[in-house]
């Protein structure tokens, strides 16, 4: 392994030298080697209140990971920060056949219970702290501007960096945990002022507010892992309110999954862009203009990997990443209204809205909950991606409003309006 030159504090050096045990020394060695590859000259203290981990599933294929975690637990090397984790892979609320359930419980996620016990020993915030949208107020893992994090989960990292102004790299699973164990992460990339500057200026010139998931996909595929500075989007919002944050959640997840974006700036909207404006642009930045036609082409170019491309959808997922409370309320009213207009009582396609367990609790206290129940839509905390990993599920024609789910599964992406038409009218026009 090649090594760069990293200046460690005495405390960090002592850990590396094994003064706090062999296992912690290996954890520090991992972080130092990793940071050296990217030219890190020092380690930065993790200052966020809570951590977030991407690995939330107890699947046999990851046995080496659970063995490593057991080594950490046995050595007392647990997280210095309480943490949330990505969504659970199973929920009894989900529409599932007997065989699908059997595959989930006996073959795919047979280690779920034992893994959750490991997570509790490591420092899980609370027993239901499973969601990819951990930053939602109902969940409470919301970093402050300038907080240094050791998070993973691409959609959460890009939200924390861009919308909240925290500082976090796109960490891999396990590395996220190791940073939280020693309380330091290599100071590199998005932790530095230079690394947060944009090498792309994206000029949005659409005639109306673009679909968040489509715009994010288009930008992600263009800039890949670079930082984009986006102009022309703030005219569709009244500042960084609930509506804008919800939009940016879905937009960011698409940039991170269709590309590998860890941070974006939206002129006049996101905190660093409001503070620094176009001073965030690097010298020699590239420019990309997005029009209605650009987005139309992006949408039309998505491959459909269903065996029968014209199959009638058997399931619809909305909520990858997990929905906000405001989004749940909004979708409930939209579905209810569209069903009434179509003369239908229930959705035509089995439909699942996914959100955090804490958001479900809050939503159940609202009048919209009974309206949603009447429409036949299922409310679940499941991870749609994990559901789609089941070989008996991924061969089903599933539709979704999520560009992340489209990227990682066989699900077909539709815009929000088209999804609404599909689930309330079976795809027929009014």
């Amino acid at each position: 392994m090649s090594k760069g030159v990293m200046q460690l504090t005495q405390e960090q050096q002592d850990i590396l030298d094994g003064k706090e045990g062999e296992v912690l020394a290996k954890v520090m060695k991992t972080l130092v080697m990793y940071g050296s590859l990217f030219g890190a000259e020092s380690m930065e203290k993790v200052t966020g209140t809570y951590n977030h981990l991407v690995t939330s599933v107890g699947v046999t294929a990851l046995k080496p990971v659970y063995d490593l975690i057991e080594t950490l637990i046995d050595a007392g090397a647990v997280s210095s920060k309480k943490f949330t984790a990505d969504p659970r892979p199973m929920d009894d609320n989900m529409p599932c056949s007997f065989l699908q359930n059997l595959v989930f419980k006996k073959f795919m996620f047979s280690r779920q219970e034992s893994y959750e016990k490991q997570l509790q020993k490591l420092g899980l915030l609370e027993k239901d702290a499973f969601t990819c949208a951990c930053y939602l107020p109902e969940v409470g893992n919301t970093p402050k501007m300038g907080d240094v994090l050791s998070w993973s989960e691409s959609s959460a990292v890009v939200y924390a960096n861009s919308v909240l102004g925290a500082r976090c790299n796109r960490n891999s699973g396990i590395l996220d945990l190791m940073g939280a164990i020693v309380g330091y992460v290599p100071k590199v990339g998005l932790l530095t002022d230079e690394g947060r500057k944009a090498s792309w200026k994206i000029d949005v010139r659409t005639t109306s507010k673009p679909e968040a998931q489509l715009l994010g996909s288009c930008i992600g595929m263009k800039v890949m892992e670079d930082v984009p500075y986006i102009t022309g989007l703030d005219r569709f919002f009244d500042g960084l309110d609930d509506e804008a944050r919800t939009y940016l959640k879905d937009f960011g997840a698409a940039t991170a999954s269709n590309g590998a974006v860890g941070l974006y700036h939206v002129e006049g909207l996101t905190p660093e862009a409001v503070q620094q404006g176009q001073a965030l642009l690097k010298e020699g930045y590239q420019t990309f203009v997005i029009t209605d036609e650009t987005l139309k082409q992006t949408y039309e170019n998505y491959p459909v990997v269903w065996k029968n491309k014209d199959a009638k959808p058997k399931l619809c997922f909305i909520g990858c990443p997990h929905m906000t409370l405001a989004q749940l309320v909004d979708w409930t009213h939209k579905v209810d209204k569209a069903l009434k207009e179509a003369g239908n009582r229930k959705v035509c396609i089995p439909t699942v809205f996914t959100t955090a367990p804490d958001v479900i609790k809050a939503f159940k206290k609202m009048p919209e909950y009974s309206i949603l129940q009447d429409t036949g839509v299922v409310l679940s905390f499941v991870c749609p991606l994990m559901y789609m990993e089941n070989p008996l599920c991924n061969r089903m024609p599933v539709i979704t409003a999520s560009n992340k789910l489209r990227t990682y599964s066989t699900a077909k992406y539709y815009t929000n309006d088209e999804i609404l038409r599909q689930i309330t009218r079976g795809g027929k026009d009014a």
Partner: protein, 148 residues
């Protein structure tokens, strides 16, 4: 024979047959099926990767620009190494990305019996030149020799 020079990420010496991905290599999508269903030859399951889909990856010299996709990528790579289903080595035309680096470092530090040399920054010419089935030798100092 043509020679390329890269940066050593994980040192080692190996000779094997090349397997080439011209686009970003999605670690999770490529290895997940193989890990989950016990495929020792690690058949690539990424339908979006026309270069590799359906091909055996274990023991091959995997040539690629970078890895892409889920932040589980590093731990997936770590698991393939722990289960002995990893490529013979990984050769990146670009500087290594954070997820692949995490997997390579984790395997190097935490696994006693794993050998998977990794070299990066080999350049676009390397990726344009190397073709599937060519014999590739990787040396300790990051020199990569390719012969037909």
């Amino acid at each position: 024979m043509k020679t390329f020079n890269g940066r050593v990420v994980v040192s080692g010496t190996v000779t094997g047959q090349a397997l080439v991905s011209h686009g970003g290599f999605n670690t999770l999508a490529s290895f997940q099926r193989a890990l989950m269903f016990g495929d020792r030859k690690a058949t690539c399951g990424d339908q979006n990767n026309a270069d590799l889909y359906g091909k055996k990856m274990a023991g091959k010299v995997l040539c690629l620009p970078k890895t892409i996709g889920s932040t589980t990528g590093g731990l997936v790579l770590y698991c393939t190494c722990a289960m002995g289903r990893q490529p013979a080595c990984m050769l990146f035309s670009e500087p290594i990305d954070s997820l692949a680096a995490a997997g390579a470092v984790l395997a190097d530090v935490w696994l006693d019996n794993c050998s998977m040399p990794v070299v990066d920054s080999l350049g676009q010419e390397f990726l344009d030149y190397v073709k599937e089935g060519m014999t590739v030798t990787v040396k300790e100092d990051g020199v990569v020799e390719i012969s037909g």
